[in-house]
């Protein structure tokens, strides 16, 4: 989906989301809950602000030597008997993983939740190659059964009701299960336990990768990440190059703020550190370990306008507080990564043309920047992105014309005064109970969903003059 075709699609998706009462309710409950949990968690954690600054400085320091850190990470993984693969694009990443499966005769692969694998649409590729991918994070499992996509970075199935989940899991379990979270979770545990024990290969992402030690770090609550890295014969981890950090001393700084930002927990239930395959003497852990390092558009932004977006930890905090995300949910964004940071990541991975419409799906209120654990200045980059979209001529002609005329009016005090005076007369037929509720022509698109305050009877300048006189 590129260029002009994208805009009506986004508007239509957003409109559909706004009209979906169930989605509205689910989004409201989920995002409000996450906001409260995060706020409580940081309220009792005075050192949080200092740690956020430190985490940000670590990310910046890492970017300034990214090539060295990636080289060291690869060396350490190989020293531990692991294999490292280099994927410049999503296609290459997919091809590497498919080849690993093909060469080993893999029929079924278990996956723990990974946005990187969503980014490259790995499941579709695996299915096409005759490998059955099984998502094992409960939320991801549910949406896989429903043939849908995640709607939230850390809570992928928040848009599903327990009734819908019961129907989905009942079908797999060949039994009628009650629409009860306990019952459904227990059923999924049983179904997925078999898969963990049978699978030939486990696929994960990485929350972090520690260059100094060759360690891949996975943060989960359910324990599926541990299953996937402990039980199958082969473990493949796919990570974006932005996930590398220098040392274990850096890791603990991030751990202290990641779960707090995401779910309000001090730490998630499981933080799993893995380095290469099973060591001598160990009874479990994989025989083979593969790390796939993926660029896919990221390196272009090291010296680009979206550099700061490379700091992102994928905690999801900016989604929960975003007034746009809270209204339309993740699917309406139409890409892997939703929410304010998702717009930037989409631009990074797919190019500016992919966010021609999305760049405007923000009120620029700044709530995202306030909650970001590494204080990414998302609003600034969104504004720059809008500018770039405009420069590339992606904005409609009418819009460009309107801004040009608006710019002229704003620069000329005389024209502005004249406009205010004229506005008072012109608006008369449209003022209803002190508001502009229905404007004609193209302006009607604004008043279709919200009112405008009318031009005031006296402008500020006029009042100022009077005040000075008295």
């Amino acid at each position: 989906m590129t260029g002009r075709g994208a805009e009506p699609a986004f508007a239509a998706r957003a409109a559909a989301a706004l009209g979906d009462r169930h989605l509205q309710e689910a989004l409201g409950i989920a995002t409000t809950k996450f906001i409260g949990l995060r706020r409580e968690s940081f309220a009792g954690f005075p050192e949080g602000d200092v740690l956020r600054d430190r985490a940000r400085a670590i990310k910046e320091a890492t970017l300034q030597r990214l090539d060295e850190h990636l080289g060291r990470l690869a060396d350490r993984v190989e020293e531990r008997g692991g294999h490292v693969h280099w994927a410049a694009t999503a296609d290459e990443a997919r091809e590497i993983i498919l080849r690993l499966c093909r060469d080993r005769g893999v029929r079924m692969a278990v996956k723990s939740k990974s946005m990187a694998t969503e980014e490259i649409e790995l499941n579709e590729a695996l299915e096409g190659a005759g490998v059955t991918p099984v998502e094992t994070d409960l939320g991801e499992y549910i949406i896989q059964l429903a043939h849908e996509k995640p709607s939230h970075i850390i809570a992928p199935a928040i848009h599903k009701t327990k009734g819908q989940v019961a129907a989905l899991i009942s079908e797999v379990a060949r039994a009628r299960l009650d629409a009860d979270a306990e019952v459904l979770t227990a059923a999924a545990r049983g179904l997925l336990r078999e898969k963990f024990l049978e699978a030939d290969l486990g696929i994960t992402g990485a929350n972090f990768a520690v260059a100094e030690t060759g360690t891949v770090v996975l943060v989960t609550n359910e324990g599926n990440g541990r299953m996937v890295t402990s039980l199958p014969r082969v473990h493949v981890a796919l990570m974006g190059i932005d996930k590398v950090i220098p040392s274990l001393s850096d890791l603990v700084v991030f751990l202290a703020i990641l779960a707090r930002s995401a779910t309000g927990q001090k730490l998630s239930v499981y933080t799993t550190l893995v380095r290469g395959p099973r060591a001598a003497g160990e009874l479990d852990g994989p025989d083979e370990f593969h790390l796939v390092l993926m660029d896919n558009g990221r390196s272009r932004q090291i010296a680009g306008p979206l550099r700061e977006a490379l700091y992102c930890l994928r905690c999801g905090a900016c989604l929960n507080v975003c007034p746009v995300y809270r209204q339309i949910g993740g699917h309406a964004y139409g890409h892997t990564y939703p929410g304010p940071i998702g717009i930037l990541l989409t631009a990074m991975l797919r190019g500016t043309h992919a966010v021609r419409d999305l760049a405007h799906a923000s009120s620029l209120c700044g709530a995202c920047k306030d909650v970001c654990p590494v204080r990414i200045d998302i609003p600034r980059m969104l504004v720059e992105l809008r500018e770039q979209v405009d420069r590339e001529g992606a904005a409609p002609r009418g819009e460009r014309m309107a801004f040009r005329v608006g710019g002229l009016l704003l620069r000329s005090p005389a024209a502005w005064r004249a406009l205010a005076r004229a506005g008072r007369w012109v608006q008369r037929p449209f003022v209803e109970r002190g508001r502009l509720k229905r404007l004609p022509l193209v302006l009607g698109r604004w008043t279709a969903s919200r009112d405008l305050p009318p031009v005031a009877a006296r402008t500020f300048r006029e009042r100022w003059k009077e005040l000075r006189r008295s």
């Binding site: 979770t185 030690t213 039980l231 001393s249 852990g285 010296a303």
Partner: protein, 238 residues
């Protein structure tokens, strides 16, 4: 040029072209990790009672169950109680060395079956996996016990399989005061020390309470893939 060289050269070129954006400082690392770790252990030798109180509070907050015994000999009794409450006869455990207690004789006397992690040949691996998949309780040690978050840190290795704390529905971790620390920052130092040189384990797991999910309508549910119950047993006088 190998794929690696080409990949890193492209990134290197961007790195050199980029302008820095704000403060850039990695976290300070201990110059001599082993000594820094030793200093923490010495501090904690004095401060552990307060840290244990904090651990107990935080561990309870994440739905962990805390037990305290005076001597090693009392650990088997606690585990027996947990197994009975679970109605299970099958247990798996790390090696006696790795836990610091031999449990086999006492549990056998009570009519329970305990499979202890043994040698890592193909037969040993198969036996371990089957036993762990069947067991109702898995018993491990804890290499670091982190008070401020109520976290048990488990290091993998010979006699310390990963599945012991993962597959059984109940996990019991045994520790003594020498393993207790106060902060994540201290854990960072201990991890650095553990990886000094080219050493270090293939896997380390931080466990903060029982496995949980809130993926169905945000209803908190325990025991989705990992254990539904986690117990920590402090042995005060090792």
């Amino acid at each position: 040029m190998t794929p690696r060289d080409a990949f890193l050269a492209r990134i290197g070129a961007e790195v050199r072209r980029a302008r820095p954006a704000g403060p850039a400082t990695p976290a300070p690392r201990p110059a001599r990790p082993a000594e820094a770790a030793e200093a923490i252990r010495r501090q904690m030798a004095e401060r552990w009672p307060a840290a244990v109180r904090r651990f107990e509070e935080e561990f309870g907050r994440v739905a962990g169950v805390f037990h305290r015994v005076r001597r090693r000999e009392e650990v088997a009794g606690v585990i027996l109680g947990i197994a009975r409450a679970q109605g299970t006869r099958d247990l798996v455990a790390w090696s006696a060395d790795a836990i610091g207690v031999a449990l086999e004789a006492e549990l056998a006397a009570a009519g329970l079956g305990l499979t202890v992690a043994g040698p890592d040949d193909a037969e040993g691996r198969r036996r371990h996996r089957e036993a762990a998949a069947r067991a109702g309780v898995g018993v491990t040690g804890a290499d670091i016990v982190l008070a401020e978050t109520g976290t048990l840190v488990l290091v993998s290795g010979a006699g310390r399989p990963r599945a012991t704390s993962l597959l059984p529905p109940t996990h019991v971790a045994v520790f003594d005061p020498s393993q207790v620390v106060e902060s994540l920052e201290q854990v960072g130092v201990l991890l650095e020390a553990l990886h000094a040189g080219a050493s270090g384990p293939a896997s380390i797991t931080f466990v903060t309470g029982p496995s949980r999910t809130a993926d169905i309508e945000l209803t908190l549910t325990r025991g989705v893939h990992g254990p539904r119950e986690v117990h920590a047993v402090l042995v005060e006088e090792p």
